[in-house]
Structures are given as structure tokens and as C-alpha cells.
Amino acid sequence: MSKLGTLGARLHRGEIGYDFVGKRKLWYGISILITITAIVGLAVRGLNMGIEFQGGAVFTTERTSVSVSQAETYAEEASGHDAIVQKLGNGALRIQIAGIDTGKSDQIKQELAKDLKVNPEKINAALVGPSWGDQVANKAWQGLAIFLVLVVIYLAIAFEWRMAVAALVALIHDITITVGVYALVGFEVTPGTVIGLLTILGYSLYDTVVVFDSLKEQTKDITKQTRWTYSEIADRSINGTLVRSINTTVVALLPVGGLLFIGGGVLGAGMLNDISLSLFVGLAAGAYSSIFIATPLVADLKEREPQMKALRKRVLAKRAAAAAKGESLEAPVVDDGYDEDHEDADATPAVVGPRAQRAQPSSRGRGRGRPSGKRR
């Protein structure tokens, strides 16, 4: 972990940094590829809707000694779908299976009777409608639409419209990927899945907002300097929050991963698996998209502004002038290589007590005396 520790320090000092914005085309490409895969998967395989959405059949048996989990296995074998089994007060079993029509229900009834060792005549079969009717689903969509509109308005006011657009793109990206994975894996879509998706929605925006918040802060006085272009500062703000992003994502993914791999792995398919898969994919995609898509997209949009274009011109002109004078102030990417080589060697012998920190190199603290306090 000490590696990660110094990573934070070096990111902070800008000694190392990944050129997220510069290589955005690569990441856009990768994202588009993943999104297309997800959409194709969705189109080809479709979603496997659970009983809550499409209805199915419910079988009520007579009193039986077969356990609930055993009956669940039988029902899933007989039908090939997820089954919900409940024991009724009188010892009978109620078995609900999604996606069954009348023709198939007779066949399943026979098989169930054999497995459960009961008289098929005593099994009562009926078709059930979805407990998540159209109205419930419609309301959920309606809520989603209202929320998105509000959040775009909020982001446009609190930040700016470009960030609102970028956040929305990142959000759609996350949801598409998650739904696509669902289609590809073929898990049944249950209310749990939908709720997982809604959770992702909130999380994806949350994560994006944290990165944007730092971006907004760092670009506050951008036109008053001629050292960096917008894209470069965007890059710096991503790198500045990178440790936070990594830590938050790890902390969010660990328990969900526990649910998915341990809980789901031990028990096989189930509601737990459904929810944790959508959460796992969505959380990972949410962290990825806020760094690799949302922020570069903002930089892209921002660079189209005349103001930013002018700034870029000034910055480049200044760099050209500096280069002519033979100063090596700029071109941070080249310097990064240089620093990295020296960092490890430097860090170890430099033993500094807390007192020593106060004696700061004046160049490092240059921003501190200013009232704006940019570098906080």
C-alpha cells in the first residue's frame, strides 16, 4: 500500500499524471465499443424478464414434506426459469414460475408432481399477472424522467450546461453497459435489478459530481493565467481526485463483490446475484465513466468556446516563446518521465520531521499567500 501512498503524493505534486483528456479519443473508442456490444447483446438476446414483469404460472400443491429449497431446485429444473417457492400456512407449497403459458404449465405440473411425489390432480395451476404492472413500471419511468430533467437543471445552474450534458452522457453510458451485461449473462430481471439500476443512477451522478466539483474549483480563474489550457487543467483535476476515486470505488465495490462472488457463488443464482451483479457492473462503470468520459467530454465541449480557444492560443504562444528562449518550463509530460526516475531515490533518504514542513520551498507555496487560495 505504500506504493499507493506515494502515488497520492506524486499525483498531488503533479509529478506523474495520466493524460486522460489527451487520450480521450482512445477512451471514447473503447466506450463506444463496449456500448455497442451491450446494445447488440440487448438486441440479440433480449432481457429475461422475471415473473414480476411478465407474469407466469403459480402452482399450489397439497401438503408436502419437501423443503422449500428442494422444491425450488425441482421447479427450476422442470421449467428452466427462476422459481419463487413459499410454504403456506397449511403446509402446502406455492410455486411461482415466470414466463410460463398454459400449454407449458401442464407439462411442468406433471414433472413437479413426480418430483414432489404428489398427485398431479392435487396441484392447482393458475396463470398470474405481473405484480409490477404497467402502471408501476410507467410511474418508475416517469420518476426517472423527472429526476433527469431536474438533475440536468441543477447541474447546469450549480456548474454549467456542458457539465450537465457530459454527466448525462456518462449516465446513459453506465446504464447501457449494465443492462447490456444483464442481457448477455441472461439473469432474470427482477424488481431488485431495477432498484439496482436506480442505485447506479444515483451513484454514477454522485461520482461525476465529485470530479466536476474539483474541476470547477480548479478552473475558476482560468482566463487569468496563460500557463495551462482548459484540457490540461481538466487533466490535473482528474489526477488530483484520482486517489479519492480509486478509494471510493474500492470501498463501494468490496461489499458488493462479497455479495456477488461469495453470496451468489455459494448459493448459485438468486435474487442476491441479480442485484449484486447489476450493482457491481454499474458501480465500476460509474467510476470509469466519470474519469474517462464525463470529464474529457467537458474539456472537449469547453475547448470550443471562443474564450478557451483564445486561451489556448495564448498558452501555446507563450510556450513557443519560452521554448525559443530555451527555457524548459513547460511540456509537463516530458518532465513527468524525468521526475518518476528520481522520485523513488529521493523519497527514501529524505527524513523530515513535522517541524521541517514549515520551512517550505517558497516556489511550492507560491499560491498560498494569495487571498483566493487556489491550491486548497
Binding site: 501512498g5 413459499q86 398470474v128 404492472g133 432498484i195 499560491g367
Partner: protein
């Protein structure tokens, strides 16, 4: 943004006091939880099982083909909203076959009440009273029936006047009605001079003079004479199958607890004209619990017109009856047109009754009549193993989180873990308390949501810690670093939590059922996150920043300047160039 200000004063100035406050709050809440006897959250039907009610749609005479998928779905939707009330009870409603509806209610809900709520049709009509008398017993021996109608109706500003008129009427015509009932009804049905009949040509019962010979009228009269409201079976049948546009007979109980029978005119205002209804405790007057209704604009017009007409009549024809499922709930007098667009039903309601009635009126009438086919207890849909596996997996995941935090943040992880713990305890306690309070039930998706909330809660202090570390990297000592890092971290936390909360609030308001339950959990955890960070994490950090272990940057404190890569002044001479300048933004 009141919270940040409070936070700054409270935490910077007296962190100890803030900490003590929140700890006392937690202890009090926990104590309350144990005192109330609900020490675990109520679980949803998928985790705990519950009661399953099967309702069968009943064919009604005169309504062929009423049992169709559209009506069934409407019924499911209405039942869902009735039984889920606030949307956090996790009840499930679905159709079974062509004419059945299954309602699953989690354990711990009052299933009797739920059964009554889902099955009641709640057909509400406002009908003019044509005639009325106390049913059963000797009419002459009974007290004046007009005095019995103590219930008052009207928009708020009219209420007092109404009451006054009520009194006046009852005293002025002490026993006018009981003796003249027979004649009154025939008069009313002949209907020519009485405004209730002639006033509205379109909907008057049998406004034509020929009505007296109308067999329907004679039949109604006969029905009325035969009606004995003291018998429960008779009562249930009274007015069965009556259409809204026909006059009918009905029973109702007056404030003395006597049964009263009525002949009622055609419905002038229907339940669908009610926009919203709510239960209210009347603190003035001794009316107790009552239900107030707001009409839709169409309903308000209709209501104004009917009350306007009725006000000109003599008793009892200046009364209208509020008829719910064939029974008269209230039969107030009208002294003037009520144009306020709202009305109230008062009766001898208990709180629960008033709330149930308001609930039903708000969510509408069922398009079909249902009978209970069966009631069963059911076990958890997911089985105990699923929950157990979830909890074990969650615990392992949490342990991994703690290991990661300790490895990365060292001493600081103590603050992180303590904050998570406080957050977890508060979530648990509040969820347990909300079970009995608003019927909140926790289902598996909500449990998973709470596990994700670990990430969101942890994010808040990760943001804070990273800010502090950045400050230290810039060469500050810990105490100023904490105070300078906090305002920025605070803003980030509030901005991002706001987005989360917005999502929760919108989903809660717009949606129904499970999504609403989820939105509630999300909103709750987001709020708790803010509370914990402001009133626990920050003050704790401030206090610990004074401790030598942290302030001096012990190598296990997580704030060791060396490990954080604070650059020694020595290096200044050598490395004055690029990396140093990249800091300037």
C-alpha cells in the same frame, strides 16, 4: 445551507460538545428503540413471509363483462396504492387467473386492517335525501330523526354557519319527519314542486309527473317500507345493484347509534370527483376525527350546484347523504350553496377509520366488487438461506473494506470505521423505529441498497481525508490542515449528496410500491451520511488532530508527512523546475 454554518460553529468551536450531542442522540434513539419493543427492522415479504390474501372478483347483476383485464389491472393498481399507503410497507399485489387478485402482506402488518382496505370497493356518492326515518322499532317512540343528523358538511368557512343552522333546523322541526315519512316520500318521488327533483332536469330521479305510477317508484317505496336496517344481512343488501343514476334505498347509523333508513335521489357527485382526501382531528367542536375532501374543478361545480338546490328545500330534503359502498356515512343539512370546492365528512370516526376512509377516497373506487377467496400465511419468498448468505457475504465485504481502510489510511481508518459504525447503528435504529411508525419494511433490494450506501458514506470521509492530506502535502501541520480542508470537503459532500437526495425525493414522490420503498431507504441513508459527517466525523477529526499521535504524524497515524511525500526543503535547490510549477493552476 443552514447545516454547514451550524457545523462550522459547532465543530470548530466545541467539537467535544457536538460529539457528545450526537452520542446522546444515538443513545436516546437506541433506548427508544428498545423501549418501544421493536428492536429489529420489520422485514419485507421476501425476507420474512407474511399473509397472502386471494380476492375473487364478483359478477354483479347488470354489469356483464365487467371482469376484464383492464378493470382487473385498475383494481390491482388501486389496491397497491391503498395497501402501500406511504409506499414503504413492501406489500405485493398481482392478478391470478382471470378474476383473482393476490395481495401479499409482510409479517407484522395489521392483516385484518389490510384485508378490509384492499377489499372495500369504496364507491362514494353524494345523493340528495328524499326521505328518512329511524329504522326498526316504533317510529313514534323514537326521538326526532332530524336532530340525529349532527354531522356537518361544508367548506371551512361555512362550517360554523352550518352548525348553527343544524341546530336551528332540528329545534324548529322537532318531529316533522317521522310522522310524515310516508307522504314525504311519495311527494318526493312525484317530484314536481320539490327542487331536488325538478332543479336538475338531466338527473332528476323521475321528474315526470307520471312518476307516481312508475312501477320503479312503487317498488322503491315498497323496498323502503320493508327495509329493516337493524338486521345486518338486510343492511348489506340494501340498495344492492343500484345504479348511480337511479334513486335507491340505503341505511345509515345516526349519532345516537340508531339505524336510519333512507330513500336517496340519484347521485349528484361521485367519488371520482374527489381530488384528495385526508383525515383530520377536529380540535374545535367535539367532532373528533373527520375526513376532509377537496373536489376536482368539475366536482366542485357539481357540489356547488347540488348544495345550492338543496338549501332551498324543507327538511329532510335539504339534507344530502354521503353514501359509501351503499351505506350512508353522513347526512348533513345544507343551508346555502357550498362553493369552496371542499367538503368534510364527520361522524363518530376513530382515527383509524378516518384514515382508512381518506385513503380509499384518495385512491379511488375499485371498478369491481371482490370477495375473499382465501387467506394464507406464507413463508419468505427468498428463503432464510438467501438472507443469511447475504449477511455473511456483506460481513466479509465489510471486513475487506476495513482491511483496505486500515492499510491505506492507517490511524485515520479509526475515524472512518467509527463513522461507518455510527452510521450503521443510526440506520438500523431508525429503520427499526420506522417499522411501527409508518409501516416501513426492509426487503432484500433495500438491504443491498444499504450495503452500497457504505460506499457513499465512506466517500464522504475519503474526500475529507484526501483534502487534509493535500493540505499536509503543502506543508501545513495537522490542525490547520483539518480546518482548511474541511470547508472544501464539506462543499463537495453537500453537492454530491444533494444529487443523491434529489434522486430519492423525486422517486419517492412519483413512484409507487417497491421503488418508493427503495427511494425512502436511499434518502434516509443520504441524510444520515450528512449528519454523520458533520456531527461525528468532523468533530472527531478536530479532537484527534490535537492528539500527539496524529499531530506529530506518527508513521501509523496515516498522516505521516514523510509517507505523504511532503518535500523536504533540501530538495528545493535541486528541483526547482517543472514539477514544482505544475502545482500552479
Amino acid at each position: 445551507m443552514a447545516a454547514p454554518k451550524k457545523g462550522r460553529q459547532g465543530t470548530q468551536g466545541r467539537p467535544g460538545r457536538t460529539l457528545a450531542l450526537i452520542l446522546i442522540a444515538i443513545v436516546a434513539l437506541t433506548g427508544g428503540m428498545f423501549a418501544s419493543g421493536h428492536s429489529t427492522p420489520r422485514l419485507g415479504i421476501d425476507l420474512a413471509g407474511g399473509t397472502s390474501i386471494t380476492l375473487q372478483a364478483k359478477n354483479e347483476p347488470g354489469q356483464k363483462n365487467a371482469i376484464n383485464p383492464t378493470n382487473m389491472n385498475t383494481a390491482v393498481d388501486i389496491m397497491n396504492r391503498r395497501v402501500n399507503g406511504l409506499g414503504v410497507t413492501e406489500a405485493e399485489v398481482q392478478t391470478q387467473g382471470d378474476s383473482n387478485i393476490i395481495v401479499n402482506i409482510p409479517k407484522g402488518t395489521n392483516s385484518e386492517q389490510a384485508r378490509e382496505q384492499v377489499g372495500t370497493t369504496a364507491k362514494l356518492y353524494f345523493r340528495p335525501v328524499l326521505t328518512t326515518e329511524v329504522s326498526g322499532g316504533d317510529p313514534a317512540a323514537s326521538p326526532s330523526p332530524s336532530a340525529s343528523s349532527s354531522a356537518s358538511t361544508g367548506s371551512d368557512k361555512d362550517t360554523d354557519k352550518d352548525k348553527a343552522t343544524d341546530k336551528a333546523t332540528s329545534s324548529a322541526s322537532p318531529s316533522a319527519t317521522s310522522s310524515t315519512q310516508g307522504r314525504a316520500v311519495t311527494d318526493a318521488l312525484k317530484a314536481d314542486p320539490t327542487p331536488s327533483g325538478s332543479g336538475s332536469a338531466s338527473s332528476s330521479p323521475s321528474a315526470s309527473p307520471s312518476a307516481s305510477t312508475d312501477p320503479a317508484t312503487a317498488k322503491l317505496q315498497a323496498e323502503y317500507t320493508a327495509l329493516d336496517c337493524t338486521k345486518k344481512t338486510v343492511r348489506a343488501k340494501a340498495g344492492d345493484g343500484a345504479k348511480a343514476s337511479d334513486p335507491t334505498v340505503a341505511c345509515g347509523q345516526n349519532s345516537q347509534g340508531q339505524w336510519q333508513k333512507y330513500i336517496l335521489g340519484p347521485a349528484e357527485v361521485e367519488g371520482t370527483d374527489v381530488d384528495k382526501a385526508s383525515a383530520l382531528f377536529d380540535t374545535q367542536g367535539a367532532a373528533g376525527w373527520k375526513v376532509t375532501m377537496d373536489f376536482t374543478s368539475k366536482g366542485a361545480k357539481k357540489f356547488a350546484s347540488i348544495t345550492g338546490k338543496l338549501a332551498q328545500n324543507q327538511s329532510p330534503q335539504n339534507q344530502f347523504a354521503i353514501v359509501l359502498d351503499g351505506e350512508v356515512v353522513s347526512d348533513p343539512y345544507v343551508s346555502q350553496a357550498l362553493t369552496g370546492g371542499s367538503a368534510e365528512i364527520s361522524g363518530s370516526f376513530k382515527q383509524q377509520e378516518a384514515e382508512d376512509l381518506a385513503n380509499m377516497l384518495s385512491y379511488g373506487a375499485l371498478p369491481l366488487t371482490f370477495t375473499e377467496a382465501s387467506v394464507d400465511t406464507v413463508t419468505a419468498a427468498l428463503g432464510g438461506e438467501q438472507l443469511e448468505a447475504g449477511l455473511i457475504a456483506g460481513a466479509i465485504g465489510l471486513a475487506l473494506v476495513i482491511i483496505y481502510l486500515v492499510a491505506y489510511y492507517r490511524g485515520l481508518s479509526l475515524i472512518a470505521i467509527a463513522s461507518l459504525l455510527v452510521s450503521a447503528v443510526m440506520t438500523y435504529v431508525i429503520m427499526s423505529l420506522l417499522g411501527p411508525a409508518i409501516g416501513f419494511a426492509l426487503n432484500l433490494p433495500a438491504v443491498c441498497g444499504a450495503i452500497v450506501a457504505i460506499g457513499i458514506t465512506a466517500d464522504s470521509f475519503i474526500v475529507f481525508f484526501e483534502r487534509i492530506r493535500d493540505e499536509i502535502r503543502e506543508g501545513r501541520t495537522l490542525r490547520p490542515a483539518v480546518e482548511r480542508g474541511w470547508p472544501r470537503a464539506r462543499r463537495t459532500i453537500l453537492v454530491s449528496d444533494f444529487v443523491s437526495f434529489l434522486a430519492a425525493a423525486v422517486l419517492f414522490v412519483v413512484t409507487v410500491g417497491k421503488v418508493q420503498g427503495f427511494a425512502f431507504t436511499l434518502g434516509l441513508t443520504t441524510l444520515l451520511d450528512v449528519v454523520v459527517v458533520f456531527f461525528f466525523t468532523k468533530p472527531l477529526m478536530t479532537i484527534l488532530a490535537r492528539k500527539k499521535f496524529f499531530a506529530e504524524g506518527h508513521s501509523w497515524s496515516g498522516l505521516d508527512p514523510k509517507r505523504l511525500g511532503v518535500q523536504p526543503p533540501l530538495r528545493r535547490t535541486r528541483r526547482v523546475s517543472a514539477p514544482v510549477d505544475t502545482k500552479e493552476a
